[in-house]
Symmetry: C2
Subunit: 111 residues, 2 copies
Amino acid sequence: MTGKNLVGPGADALDLGAVFRALADEHRRSVMTELAADRSDSERGCNSFNLPISKQTQTHHFRVLREAGLIDEIDYGNRKGIRLRRADIEKRFPGLLTLLGAESPGGTAPR
Amino acid sequence: MTGKNLVGPGADALDLGAVFRALADEHRRSVMTELAADRSDSERGCNSFNLPISKQTQTHHFRVLREAGLIDEIDYGNRKGIRLRRADIEKRFPGLLTLLGAESPGGTAPR
DNA sequence: CTTGAGGTACGATGCAAGTCGTACCTGAAG
DNA sequence: CTTCAGGTACGACTTGCATCGTACCTCAAG
């Protein structure tokens, strides 16, 4: 079965404020950082991120990311797929995804 | 008199989370967009931004921007100067300031 | 059919953040 | 000196948001 894509804003309708608000949360940013690091942009499951929060809260965070236009959520009924909207983000905000890789200076250096 | 520079984080200590949280607010982002658009990086006064908020709230917002490492605040006693930390930002998060110029598609023109 | 895992909807809660009122400080101009 | 504009400190208020509890839905495997 193909599953239907849950709606998000169009590529030209991405709002910088919504994007920054979405990326302001640590959990959502860690998801985006993982997605941005995988250049194959393969579809991922919701619990492949090992977020230390309840599933209700995960639903909330993924919705925020989708409504900001950063990811697609594919609904399969009893499970859900996550995919980065790399092309749309790069078109609208070029360089944003690269920024997520600069999270810590020199990779995972101690503080 | 020269005025003393209020303290902010070092260039290598800029935190992406703090930066995104700072840019999530519309008023702070409008300030940063204005600063980023001025390539001369001249020092500006606090009320040269015409923010539609009280001066106490302005004090709050400029402090958040300074503590995120995005601006310098120069204290002259009875007034204050604001300057963009362009070099530090570009070194730590290259492309971030360019992103602020992409606020609305096609410059500032409505569609 | 029943069961169980993945996910959502709704509401409640606790905390962080934006806003402003009052009072006070600093320095320049009278 | 006094006056006044720019700015800060503190507190109160309000809103937004992250979090989770309870209940319900969907689908696949028994």
